[in-house]
């Protein structure tokens, strides 16, 4: 699979009558939606309504209380998706470059140092440890996972958090390119990212 080429598989996601809970609290019930190849879905809802839990359930990190989540059309389910959570999954003592190489090995991709330096503007800090990065730069580094290893489905939790205007523009371009090559992006946001979504899903109790 080429790094940014079109995906051979045409993924689709179907969520049916989904019900999620955290602890004893039911977050929402009976949520259904479907997303086809090329879709950009914005998940909206107030704080604590279950946006993050919905993404984690689709990623398979959270077991649903009831309902179905089906990911179809992906050749290898273990290579189907990326999850960028609100925690950036970075180690303070490791350098930006070390993270890119680690992810390339873990997810099976290429470190794409030059491309990441160019698009996400991380070139000047490539050799520095994460502890000296700003919040926005750390977020950009977390988003670089999407570039390092191609996956047809992106699950993004507040992807624009801490990003400046330039960062948001890059994020929108990345999502547009991802959709154009047949991928699906699902983002939980509290304000729209900019590019109009192909559909919006509201989660509420």
């Amino acid at each position: 699979m080429s790094a940014r080429g079109p995906f051979r598989d045409r993924p689709s996601i179907r969520v049916e009558a989904l019900s999620l809970s955290r602890g004893q609290r039911v977050l929402f019930e009976g949520l259904s939606f479907a997303a086809a190849s090329g879709a950009y879905v914005e998940v909206q809802g107030s704080n604590g309504s279950g946006k993050t839990s919905l993404l984690r359930a689709i990623a398979g990190l959270l077991r649903p209380r009831a309902g179905q989540i089906a990911i179809e059309g992906a050749e290898d389910p273990s290579l189907a998706l990326h999850y960028v959570g609100h925690a950036n999954a970075l180690k303070r003592e490791a350098s930006v470059r070390a993270h890119l190489h680690y992810w390339a090995g873990l997810f099976g991709g290429s470190p794409s140092e030059d491309y990441v330096a160019q698009t996400l503007g991380l070139g000047p800090v490539m050799s520095l440890p994460v502890r000296v990065l700003s919040q926005g730069q750390a977020r950009r580094l977390a988003l670089s996972r999407l570039i390092v290893a191609p996956r047809p489905i992106w699950l993004l939790d507040e992807p624009a958090a801490a990003l400046d205007e330039g960062g948001k523009a890059v994020l929108n371009e990345m999502i547009a390119a991802h959709r154009a090559s047949g991928g699906i992006a699902i983002a939980a946001v509290h304000e729209p990212l900019g590019a109009p979504p192909s559909q919006a899903v509201r989660v509420a109790a």
Partner: protein, 216 residues
């Protein structure tokens, strides 16, 4: 590079970053070298009390590294990424355990040589003491993976971790101390080897199962 290779390299680099791996070695050296100072240089006393004290210090040195082993990954989101990557979590946990042993267990075993001499062990017994510490710390790490995974989401889980892990550290401590005092060395080595292999085989599987539950 393979998932095992990148995880091993990264963990080793993180363990050595800022000299973090030096702390347990320093603790091991400090605790054991205080023994002759506290007990006096009498040979028979040191030869009797030395081996158990060395092994208790080694067990506590390894345990000190366990609390943050998976807790940091859980808190910063790295665990989610490990779960979502294609290689099985068991393999990644094994790589973390292997890196911990290379960063802590192996140096501890080598540090055992000067300590054994300071504690009046016969010089010809020093190589087998070093080898037994290498096997014993591998057993500690294997079992420790399970305790570290079970307590990953517990804030200040150090006490709980000790309650889970210390009883399971008993077999390597018992048979390691018997190597150091020169009793039934062959049998003790066989059991230490069994502890190391058993821990390294079962530890990653049990720890990965515990981590999957913690990630929810």
């Amino acid at each position: 590079m393979s998932a095992f290779g990148v995880t091993f390299r990264r963990e080793l680099a993180l363990l050595w970053a800022g000299g973090g791996a030096l702390a347990p070695i320093g603790y091991f050296l400090g605790a054991t070298l205080l023994v002759p100072l506290a007990m006096g240089p009498e040979r028979t006393l040191l030869q009797a009390a030395g081996p158990p004290l060395v092994w208790i210090a080694a067990a506590l040195s390894v345990m000190g590294m366990l609390e943050r082993l998976f807790q940091a990954d859980l808190e910063d989101g790295s665990l989610d990424q490990m779960l979502l990557s294609a290689p099985p979590l068991e393999l990644i946990v094994f790589a973390k355990g292997a890196a911990l042993w290379v960063a802590i267990g192996l140096p501890l075993a080598l540090t055992g040589a000067p300590i054994a001499i300071a504690l009046q062990a016969p010089v010809e017994r020093v190589p087998s003491i070093v080898a037994s510490l290498a096997l014993g710390t591998a057993g500690f790490v294997g079992v420790g993976l399970i305790g570290a995974a079970l307590t990953a989401s517990v804030k200040r889980g150090g006490v709980l971790l000790a309650l889970i892990v210390l009883p399971l550290f008993a077999p390597p401590i018992i048979f390691g101390a018997s190597v150091a005092s020169g009793e039934d060395v062959a049998a003790a080595f066989a059991i230490l080897g069994g502890c190391a292999l058993g821990g390294l085989a079962l530890g990653p599987i049990a720890a990965a199962a515990a981590l999957r539950l913690q990630a929810e």
